[in-house]
């Protein structure tokens, strides 16, 4: 029986996969492609970006007007993904369940989780008991406690990888579904009801949106934000049909997000856009997907240039 080390695991993965891991770069922790195990950071902080760009790239071709698109060959491993990001991954898996482009990437991605704690673990208190049963991963490394790391597998692929490395000291956890009983938990339910109470409270949203500069950084950083445009490029050349349709991630804070030809804009004001962001995460997603649309990572707050704090907005909504 071999002793588990993350280096050995990463070196093994590098032989078969493109490996993405948190890397310390210019004083920041960022998920990016690595070339050797030493590049991966051992930090237990949450990286500034999430897994998002590796499963839902900023831009990708969805359809080719001239020919049948070939499937992109994907074979990647994302190493060191935190529990909060694993929660976001569950939502992505649901939202893009019928999307062949996402699924092609997802089904060819090995997910290796770690017990990384967000800046404010109390916010949304994500560390409920038996959380691993409710997450999808191949391997999960728990080195948050003293002593040797505890290793879990969540799939037969994860087991195979560890077996091949002769790491036999792991515990297998069967996925028991994203939520207990298939129903939104009481806390998220309460949050949803509270946001519903302030939906038409114009003052509430104007107050919190006052400083917003509509930069969209929160939506880029958020691991559950996936809004996109379809962009058709190329075009007909001397009657021959050609060109591609791309998906490009967009932001609901941008001026043209809900504007239509003729001049109508259905998200005209800052307050309406901020409200829409909160409705999406705390009403629409819970109602439709039975999952909370916020995983509590606080990346939105961390990147916001004007300091809009999701904790303050939710706390204010809870008072109504």
């Amino acid at each position: 029986m071999a002793k588990f080390t993350t280096d050995k695991l990463i070196e093994f993965l590098l032989k078969e996969y493109t490996v993405i891991a948190p890397v310390e770069k210019e004083g920041e922790l960022l998920f990016q492609k690595i070339g050797n195990a030493q590049e991966a950071s051992s930090s237990l902080q949450i990286p500034k970006n999430s897994f998002k760009q590796f499963l839902l790239p900023h831009e990708e071709v969805l359809f080719n007007f001239a020919e049948n698109s070939k499937k992109e060959l994907v074979s990647q491993a994302i190493f060191g993904i935190s529990i909060v990001d694993l929660k976001a991954l569950l939502l992505f898996d649901q939202m893009f369940a019928k999307d062949p482009h996402y699924q092609n990437r997802r089904q060819n991605t090995v997910i290796i989780g770690q017990c990384i704690v967000p800046d404010d673990p109390k916010f949304l208190s994500i560390f409920e008991e038996n959380v691993l049963e409710r997450l999808k991963f191949d391997i999960f490394i728990d080195r948050c406690k003293n002593g040797d790391p505890k290793i879990f597998t969540g799939s037969s692929l994860g087991q195979k990888i560890l077996d091949r490395l002769k790491f036999s000291n792991y515990e297998h956890i069967d996925f028991k579904g994203a939520i207990e009983g298939g129903k939104l938990d009481a806390k998220s339910q309460k949050l949803k009801e509270q946001i519903k109470k302030v939906v038409n409270n114009k003052k509430f949203w104007e107050e919190f949106a006052k400083e917003c500069i509509l930069c969209g950084k929160c939506t880029v950083a958020c691991p559950t934000c996936y809004c996109f445009d379809l962009v058709d490029e190329g075009g007909e050349i001397s009657k021959k049909q050609s060109g591609v349709r791309k998906r490009r991630l967009s932001s609901c804070f941008y001026e043209d997000f809900a504007s239509v030809a003729g001049g109508e804009n259905f998200l005209k004001t800052k307050a309406e856009r901020l409200r829409n962001y909160y409705i999406h995460k705390f009403i629409r997603t819970p109602e439709r997907e039975q999952l909370l649309g916020c995983v509590g990572c606080l990346r939105c707050f961390r990147v916001c240039p004007v300091g809009i704090d999701i904790r303050k907005i939710l706390a204010a909504a809870m008072k109504y």
Partner: protein
């Protein structure tokens, strides 16, 4: 897994200039099987576009029983709709759909029907009017059509009015009268005041937001219930399958749960600030 973002080429077989900058495009899918298998519910829409330009949601205006072709009416207002105006017979349109819920047909068939259209809003209502005048259920119920337009030039589907009038009363009102017009002038709500309305009816309406603003209180005043008043909503759309989020209102997607909602549902939606 099917690619939901794939469009299919359709050949334009006929173009009619129906109003200023507004053309009816008749087309059929190049794949004959796709054309033959295409089914839709009145009120549903297509995503239609051109390579390199983009797509727009467009209501289908041809009848549901017309299997040989489809028809859309497009006014050149935005980038894509203007580019479509320049297409000629034989050009290729790229089309996917149908999308959305359509008018509540089962409910309509059991009651009477009031159709209210404002401007281009007549487009997604036309297949409903066509089906009502072409089916057994249509003969069993009372149907009243109200159609309001800016002026005479902007009236759509004029050659159809005679046929529609054979089956039920079609009342037209214009914002401003012009030379040839001998009919009503005013707001669409004036027609509701001037006419005897069918009892126990479903209202199906499509028009600009300003029309709904005046229309809905009037309908409630006339005794229609919020759950019997159906409005078709416009929003920006890209995916048309409830993922991209552009058309979301509250917990609903206009592309997937709509575009047609009852007033009762609309009353539950977040209000615009």
């Amino acid at each position: 897994m099917k690619n939901p973002y794939q469009s299919y080429p359709a050949k334009i077989t006929k173009i009619v200039l129906d109003a200023p900058e507004t053309r009816a495009f008749t087309f059929r899918f190049q794949d004959a099987k796709r054309q033959a298998a295409f089914k839709f519910i009145p009120g549903q829409f297509l995503m239609a576009g051109l390579p390199g330009i983009g797509e727009i949601p467009v209501g289908i205006n041809s009848p549901t029983y017309q299997k040989k072709f489809l028809q859309i009416t497009v006014r050149g207002v935005g980038r894509v709709s203007k580019a479509i105006q320049h297409k000629t017979v034989g050009s290729i349109l790229w089309v996917r759909g149908p999308y959305g819920n359509g008018w509540p047909m089962e409910k309509i068939k059991k009651k009477n029907l009031v159709v209210i259209a404002g401007g281009l809003g007549i487009i997604p209502l036309k297949p409903l009017i066509d089906e009502a005048s072409h089916s057994d259920w249509g003969k069993k119920i009372q149907v009243q059509v109200f159609y309001g337009s800016r002026n005479f030039e902007n009236l759509l589907f004029e050659p159809q009015y005679k046929r529609w009038n054979k089956f039920y009363r079609t009342q037209i009102i214009l914002d401003t009268a012009s030379g040839r017009w001998r009919g009503e002038v005013g707001r669409i709500t004036d027609l509701l005041d001037k006419n005897q309305l069918p009892h126990d009816a479903i209202v199906t309406a499509c028009g600009p937001p300003i029309m709904y603003k005046f229309l809905t209180p009037k309908l409630l005043e006339k005794g229609f219930k919020a759950e019997d008043i159906y409005l078709s909503l416009e929003r920006k759309m890209y995916c048309a399958i409830g993922v991209c989020e552009h058309c979301a209102i509250g917990d609903k997607y206009v592309c997937k749960d709509g575009p047609i909602f009852s007033l009762a549902e609309i009353n539950q939606m977040p209000k615009a600030f």
